[in-house]
Structures are given as C-alpha cells and as structure tokens.
C-alpha cells in the first residue's frame, strides 16, 4: 500500500520530559509538560492545534484513568473542542500517534496535528507492572502460562545465540553503547556508563538476559507537533516516510527476527526513495539488548545473523556506520511505553536540526525511528516506522 502523501509534512516542534522515576508526577501531568515544551519549541499558540492523538498503554490499569487522558492533559491549554484520541498499540502507541498526526496533515484534514505520549509506571509494584505489560501477549496462549516480556526476549536471545552464534558479550555491547549515549542525554533515565563485565555480572531476569539487558520501568512523556509545509520553518525536518505493519501470524520460523519490521522497512525505504545505507541514525526499539541486534539486521544495516559482531565492532556507535540509539534508546533514555515513539521522533528531529548537543551525530541528514508493540505467537504484533530527513 502506498502512503505517499498528498502534502509535504514537517515537524515544527518537539518536547520530551525527563525520563525515569518521578514520584510526584502522573501520566497526565507529564503529558501536560511535554506539550508545553513542544509548543514552545514550535513557537506556536495552542489554538493552532487542529487534532491530537495520545499514546498511552497502562494508564487505565496502573493509574486508573481509563479514558479522557488526552482531553484532560490538554485542558490547561484551553483547546477544548478539537478531536482528541487516546491510542493503544502496545509499546508502539506513541509512534502510531505520530503516524496518525502525519496522515491527518498529509491528507489535508489538519494543518497542525499534535502527537504525544505519556506513561507513569513506577508508582505500581514491579510485579503488577510486569503483569500489565505481559497483557501485551496472547493471554489465552501465552501470558497465563507465566511468560513475561523479559522471558519472551530471553527465548529469542537463546535462539539467536544457537542459530547465529551471538555471544553474551555482544548483547552486553548494546548496553555499554546505549548507556554511554544516555550519559550525554540530559533527559535520560540512566546517565552512568557501564562495562561489559557489569552487564554480564548483573542478576538474572530471564535467562540468558540479566538486569542490564532489560529496559527499566519508567515515567515520562514526549510530544511532537506535525505541520503542513506552509507552516514549516526553514530547518524543520520533513517526514519522508511513515509505515505501519502488524504480525501476519505466519508460523514462527526461526524466531530470530521480525518479518513485520522487514516489511515496514521495505515500505518506508520505498516511500522515502532511500536504502538502508542512506540512514545516518536510527532510534530503534531496544526493549532488550537482543532486540536491538535483531533490528539492525531486519532494518538492513547488516546481514541477518551479523548483528552481534556489528555492535561489538562499534558500527552502531555515534561515530559508526549508522548511529543506533544515539539518545540512549529504551535501555538508557528509558521506556515509559506510550511515550517512547514520540521520544524517538523527538530525538530524530533534534539530531537533524543539529540540536542534539553532546550526543550530536555529525552530518545527520536521514533519521529512522522504529517501534514495536505487543508480542503474540513468536512475533511482535505492531510495528511503526518513520523516516525523517533534514530540511
């Protein structure tokens, strides 16, 4: 399906709150802050917003606000009356919010569309948060047997090791890189560098994965303001591609990669008229170390099975062949699940504008964001992918 836009679409402003444990906040208060930051970045009045989508996954179960989170978070801005939609697509919710805003602007339904995402997860006991997140698998056939998300990716990691010879040290190299990047990102949840030995020595969560192979429960929000070309300023990056795929429920196959990522990438590269080689930086869904290795393969940055050596050799470092997760990714920036897709796009925008400070990727012209959501029958259920290009 071609999604070539009728109108050129740009991103005029982004805002991201601090990520990590924030006891005094709620998903609603964090969302309000992210929108404030994005409006200020865009230099736009709130009244300019024509429509809004908010990504949020756990708010109903962990916080109790089942509905109206978006409307309530926007109430302080005095913009009642516009269409506001809460969007739940697992951990890809924020990315699908960006895609919804993109489609609204591309088709002329809106000139200014707001995509934001928020999650407040740390107030809940960790076992409850794990249970709620496990609800993003098939409850009938998976979650009720005791599988957790770290468990799912533990199985995938063991498969990748058995089939492709990936090593624990190569998994650890993902965390070492992402924590080093996070140390340069002022909003990151984790700002301390770690070593390969730290990762290998951490307590086990779901074998073969340990604590430092896993992203942490987090609080945070991010917002992205998508505009039609006539409202873009010089320097505002353009959305060159937006793709969304679901699991096709094919047999599991080798369980060492995600077909839906490969299909989304193929579609997005065609829309943007680029190949994987043209991507300067990618914010990818590294919910676990093994996940980032799979994605570098499935996005075409290296051959299937070569993702372990690829990260270990530094090809995904900030100054490598393709900078993967220069923000620190889910592992270091943090993963307040509904906010993640918007935070990835916000990082891409800062990089393409040259505003990424100490973590700036030199000469960044093409950025990719990749988010997965939910996990059913051996594969992710949702994938959303965007390609952004510098002005």
């Amino acid at each position: 399906m071609s999604a070539t836009s009728e109108r050129t679409v740009a991103i005029r402003g982004v805002g991201t709150t601090t990520f990590g444990r924030q006891p005094g906040e709620t998903d609603r208060s964090l969302a309000e802050r992210a929108v404030q930051l994005a409006l200020a970045d865009a230099d736009l009045d709130p009244a300019a917003i024509d429509a809004a989508w908010i990504g949020n996954v756990t708010g109903g179960q962990l916080g109790g606000q089942m509905s109206a989170l978006g409307q309530l978070a926007l109430r302080p801005f005095g913009v009642g009356g516009l269409p506001v939609t809460r969007l739940e697509n697992g951990c890809a919710s924020g990315s699908v919010a960006v895609r919804s805003a993109y489609l609204a602007v591309a088709t002329g339904q809106a000139d200014v569309a707001l995509a934001f995402g928020a999650e407040h997860m740390t107030a809940a006991p960790t076992p409850l948060a794990i249970e709620v997140l496990a609800g993003a698998s098939d409850l009938e056939a998976e979650a009720r047997f005791g599988i957790t998300f770290p468990g799912v990716f533990g199985m995938i990691a063991r498969r990748h090791m058995e089939v492709h010879g990936t090593t624990p040290e190569q998994l650890a190299a993902v965390t070492v890189k992402n924590r080093a990047n996070g140390a340069r990102n002022p909003i990151a949840q984790f700002d301390q560098a770690v070593t390969v030995d730290d990762v290998l020595g951490a307590r086990r969560i779901a074998s073969p994965l340990g604590l430092l192979d896993c992203c942490a429960i987090s609080d945070g929000a991010a917002a992205v303001i998508v505009v039609a070309e006539h409202l873009a300023r010089p320097g505002d990056p353009r959305i060159a591609a937006s793709a969304q795929t679901s699991s096709d429920f094919e047999p599991f196959g080798e369980m060492t990669g995600f077909a839906l990522t490969r299909r989304a990438a193929e579609e997005a590269y065609a829309q943007a008229g680029i190949s994987a080689d043209d991507v300067d930086l990618a914010e990818v869904h590294d919910c676990f170390t093994i996940a980032e290795i799979l994605h570098t393969e499935d996005l075409g940055f290296c051959e299937k099975g070569a993702g372990g050596p690829f990260v270990e050799e530094g090809q995904t470092a900030r100054d490598g062949l393709v900078a993967v997760n220069p923000s620190g990714g889910l592992g270091a920036r943090g993963h307040p699940v509904g906010a993640t897709g918007c935070a990835q796009v916000a990082e891409a925008v800062l990089q393409l504008r040259g505003d990424a400070g100490e973590r700036q990727v030199d000469g960044a012209r093409v950025a990719l964001t990749h988010t997965l959501g939910a996990f059913v029958h051996g594969a992710a259920a949702n994938c959303a992918l965007h390609v952004l290009v510098a002005a």
Binding site: P125, T126, P127, L128, I130, E131, A134, G135, D138, L139, E140, A141, E142, A143, R144, F145, G146, I147, T148, P150, G151, V152, G154, M155, I156, R158, R159, E162, R203, R204, I205, A206, S207, P208, L209, F249, P251, F252, M255, G378
Partner: protein
Amino acid sequence: MRRSSAHPHATWVRCRACGAGFYPAQRRCTACGAWDQLDDEPLPRAGSLFAWTVVHVAAADPPLPVPYAVGYVDLDDGPRVLGPIAVDGDPETALRSGQRLTLVPHDPADDVPFHLEVAA
C-alpha cells in the same frame, strides 16, 4: 490476569472441511475459509523443545515461585505451544533445545490448562 479460553483445556481445533489445525482455538478456518467447521481436539502429548527461558522475576499474576522455566514446544503432528516446564533441580542446567517433552493436561478447574515435563 483474568482471561481464559472459550475452549476446553489443552485442546486445539481442526477443520472438518480441509484438515488444517489451529492453536489457540478459533472459529474460522484460515486455510479454507470455512466457518464453524472447527472441532476441538486434544493437543498431542509429546514434542520437542524449540525455545526456552528461566524466569527469575515474575508477574504478580500468575503468582509462580521463581525461578521457573517456560518454553515453546513443537508438538508432534501439532502446533507450537507455550507452556511452563516442570523440572527437577536447577532449570538452567536441566533443559536444552531439542529436548523431548511431555504435555500434561490439567483439571478443567485449574487456571493453567497444562504443563510440560521432561520426557521419561
């Protein structure tokens, strides 16, 4: 965690029209498009371990004592299913991929439909 299944424990469905099987159960045959031709059948009782992990940090529900092993098993002439794997001793050293496992159905009143054991 509240969801159960509309179908009996430890079953999958097979299409009367074309013979295709599906797990978990559904009402439409994906292979031939037939509706309401799918009959519950017991899951095969033996298979080979495809992928596995040992969970050290569990969810609040199901409240399983850690560590515990979970894995996907390729049932003989059947589907690939996920289940808890009961092992003697340390699960990290008791399991290997490809190992033969037995599927043990549970009582209909049990929340968990079945578990897996290392084959005798």
